[in-house]
């Protein structure tokens, strides 16, 4: 669905056609639900929060700037719903990870092509991404899974463009270091 089609739907919704909104719900329910699931780890709560996100998006649709992409706006709003819930529950469920800056590379270990190929495990990389702090994890997912621009990431996460670049770069750095640690322990 292109942006002009989305604009048309949003216009119809704003003019009173609530049912038109279902097209947007169906299109983005997957990413929003999974965002919630990553944050709360419980399917029922994730569904409730995803519903809350779409409801809030509907209620605030007047503030959406036509001509922009709808998904980054929705994602930003959904992220706030997740944060509100976590704050209310006093929970911080992200898996703590060591600070990458203090990790030491094992430079002495010889690294052959075969050994490296053995490490090339997309599934393992994904697991490590999921263990990252939310702010790094979401930046990586927005950038590489949803193809957000740095400006869109910045807007979605409520940070500056430099901050978005830093989070993507640092997130990659952390996963890379962790990947090496895990591989070396094998």
């Amino acid at each position: 669905m292109d942006e002009s089609r989305e604009d048309k739907i949003i216009r119809e919704v704003l003019l009173g056609d609530a049912q038109a909104f279902e097209v947007l719900v169906r299109k983005y329910q997957g990413p929003v639900y999974n965002l919630m699931l990553r944050n709360v780890g419980d399917v029922d709560t994730a569904a409730d929060l995803a519903q809350e996100a779409f409801t809030r998006a509907y209620q605030r649709l007047e503030t959406f700037k036509m001509g922009k992409r709808f998904f980054p706006w929705l994602y930003s709003l959904s992220l706030n719903v997740a944060r509100d819930w976590l704050r209310k529950k006093g929970r911080d469920i992200h898996v703590f990870m060591e600070n990458a800056s203090v990790m030491v590379r094992d430079e002495d270990r010889p690294d052959t092509q075969a050994a490296l190929n053995d490490r090339l495990d997309g599934g393992k990389a994904f697991e490590l991404v999921m263990q990252l702090d939310q702010k790094y994890r979401e930046a990586l997912i927005l950038r590489f899974r949803h193809d957000f621009t740095m400006q869109e990431i910045a807007r979605a996460l409520g940070i500056t463009v430099s901050g978005a670049k830093m989070r993507v770069s640092r997130g990659l750095d952390m996963v890379r270091h962790q990947f090496k640690e895990v591989s070396d322990d094998r």
Binding site: K8, V25, Q29, Q51, F144
Partner: protein, 190 residues
Amino acid sequence: MTDEQKDRLLDETIIKGIRSMPEAKTPDGFSARVMAGLEPKRPSLWTRFRMWLIRPQSLTFRPLQVIPVATCAVALLALAFIQTNKPISEDIVSLSTVRFVMNDTSMEASNVSVIGSFNNWKAERSVMWYSKTAKAWILEAQLPPGDHEYLFLVNGETLVPDPRAQMTRDDGFGNKNSIMFVNGIDEQAL
């Protein structure tokens, strides 16, 4: 493999892992559940006006409406084209007739030419003729606007500045060239 290459390879793996990460299926009936909780909006006058302003607009034409408009557009384009090209044609027709005159009451010279910046200082291109009435060597030529340096070449060997020229310019070798100003209208050597 260098560390840099290893890191690049790892980055590709990580990115690939993120791109292909599995996603949990949204619960059945999710969108219906969302929609059930939404009330249709009652747009304010302002919202209606804003939506009207930014609505996509389509224009329809009938052939009979298009033909006069297209004709006018073509005419305007043609006019613009003519106007754009006008300076070139003006350059061509803006040559001015100028008259070089070198007095020689007793016809001492056997031949005289005008050499200058306009004929690459070549005598054979601008040979003057003698007017017994005016008792002078005369040549009429057409030159473009601007200032032109020139000299008279007498008998094929002697360079003589025009004594009637009001301006001269040093040629860099200690000699003076006469200056002819052409401003677009017929004029005579000063």
